[in-house]
């Protein structure tokens, strides 16, 4: 029954919300999304590396999840299923973008991205570098690294999210970490060396 919960009733589980949605409760999906939206946004943003494209990807994913909720069979956690849809939508976006000529707006978008999620200078610098480094990765490797290293999913869950085998997840993550190393090594333990390089000293 899609009744509103009474006072004192415990929060419905994700699965319960999804079930209510499938049963026609028009509020349930929105509540489910609100629970997880920051993490879902993080996956889209880090995978796509462009705020506008990531927003479109997240929207595509949520519309898709809304419609395909009836297909969810409970073989994984609802969050895993949601993340999978977001990752798929993000990679779809990247494939479509790859089919177009490179846009000159990418750098500006990246600057906006870096500027928007910073609170103080030090961590903003770190994120700028991390984001720039992530952009160097092929999208499948990037998605794997985002899901495992940034969001902390287990390899098994990541395999579900990425639609591949655990071995492939490990392999993508390993290659991605190796590939990132030259770009982020200065951020770990060698920060002072990185900070000595002051840009724009000459005119």
């Amino acid at each position: 029954m899609p009744d509103t919960p009474g006072p004192g009733r415990p929060e419905p589980s994700d699965a319960e919300l999804l079930h209510r949605h499938v049963a026609g409760d028009t509020e349930a999906f929105g509540e489910l999304f609100r629970r997880h939206r920051d993490r879902l946004w993080a996956v889209a943003l880090r995978t796509v590396c462009d705020p506008d494209e990531a927003a479109d990807a997240l929207q595509d994913a949520m519309v898709s999840a809304f419609r395909r909720a009836g297909d969810f069979r409970g073989e994984s956690a609802v969050t895993t299923w949601l993340h999978r849809i977001v990752v798929n939508a993000s990679l779809d976006r990247l494939r479509r973008r790859a089919a177009r000529p490179a846009t000159s707006g990418d750098e500006q978008a990246f600057e906006a991205l870096a500027a928007h999620d910073g609170d103080h200078a030090r961590s903003t610098d770190t994120r700028l570098d991390v984001n720039a480094a992530l952009r160097m990765l092929p999208p499948p490797q990037r998605a794997a690294l985002v899901v495992v290293d940034m969001l902390g999913f287990s390899v098994a869950d990541a395999a579900v999210i990425l639609g591949t085998s655990p071995g492939t997840v490990k392999s993508r993550c390993a290659r991605a970490r190796a590939r990132l190393l030259p770009y982020v090594a200065h951020l770990q333990g060698n920060r002072s060396a990185a900070e000595r390089v002051q840009p724009g000293a000459d005119s």
Partner: protein
């Protein structure tokens, strides 16, 4: 090859650390690491990559995007209700060509797994309507300035939908006294059943409601309006029905049975409420001034489902 081995490259070492290299090769790498500070340090750096990535704070979903997605999902809920109605509620839908589509969706909907189907059997006798709140062409200069420049979209979101998210964002906190009564739509008896309207033949009810961009508040407002008969003499004071408004109503309702068109306000600017019959729920869209036969300038949406109680 046994014994001495060359220094490991980062990828091999990363694969080893991920557990991908076992057996004799793995044993050789293990043995090498015991005696090689350089490769051990490289391994530490690889671990540091993961630690660094884990330390990057997660970005919060921007408010503007949250608003936009709320709008999209509300429209989606409305659309699925409409679709469900089109497929199942034949007794109530005979005059309809097809159901209203969600504002952002140009392509056809897949027929499988429509969320509303199961519940529909319980509600098949309930009145079905959609509510569309559309800004008319009444000089919404501020909203026009916001939404007018947003035309290009690379995604499934239409320009109208993006405009919706952007225009609605500044008033997320806006609430309105109209929401205080929080009426309940319980069934057929509570909803006025006016004469049949069409996009070509309706009169605009003069309303005074300032509709909220906040979904829950808007929902309550729409519920209230649905239960309230048009005031006497409303036609005399209502703004004229423009061709653009007719086109807008046609565009938004997509042939669904029109129930009500009412002027109101949205974020301090004039707007128009349009009610049409679709699926098992009522749905509200808030559209911008550009709403016309060719432009779905939707600012916000909500749904009202008969038989449920708004919290």
């Amino acid at each position: 090859m046994r014994g001495q081995m060359a220094h490991l490259d980062a990828e091999v070492l990363a694969e080893f650390r991920a557990g991908l290299i076992a057996g004799r090769r793995g044993a050789r790498i293990t043995a090498h690491l015991v005696g090689c500070d350089r490769c051990t340090a490289l391994g530490d750096q690889l671990a540091g990559v993961s630690a660094l990535l884990a330390s990057v704070p997660m970005p919060a979903l921007p408010d503007s995007l949250a608003q936009r997605l709320d709008t999209v999902l509300a429209a989606e809920a409305a659309g699925s209700s409409a679709q469900a109605g089109a497929g199942q509620v034949t007794t109530d839908q005979d005059e309809r060509g097809h159901a209203a589509r969600p504002a952002h969706r140009a392509t056809g909907r897949k027929q499988r797994s429509r969320p509303s189907l199961r519940l529909l059997s319980l509600r098949v006798l309930a009145p079905v309507a959609a509510v569309v709140l559309a800004a008319g062409g009444y000089g919404l200069s501020r909203i026009a300035a916001t939404g007018g420049g947003v035309t290009a979209s690379s995604g499934s979101a239409s320009s109208a939908e993006r405009a919706a998210g952007q225009a609605a964002a500044p008033s997320a906190a806006a609430t309105h006294a109209n929401s205080a009564k929080s009426p309940v739509v319980r069934g057929a008896g509570t909803v006025p059943q006016p004469r049949r309207l069409t996009p070509d033949n309706f009169s605009l009810v003069a309303g005074t409601v300032s509709f909220s961009a906040e979904p829950a508040t808007l929902k309550r407002q729409v519920e209230h309006e649905l239960r309230t008969a048009p005031p006497a003499g409303a036609a005399a004071t209502a703004p004229p029905v423009t061709r653009q408004l007719r086109g807008c109503v046609q565009n938004l309702t997509h042939g669904a049975s029109l129930v009500r068109v009412e002027s109101g306000r949205f974020e301090g600017e004039p707007a128009t409420l349009v009610v049409a019959r679709t699926g098992p729920g009522y749905t509200a869209w808030v559209a911008g001034p550009d709403c016309s036969a060719t432009s779905r300038d939707v600012l916000a949406t909500t749904t009202v489902t008969p038989g449920t109680t708004a919290p």
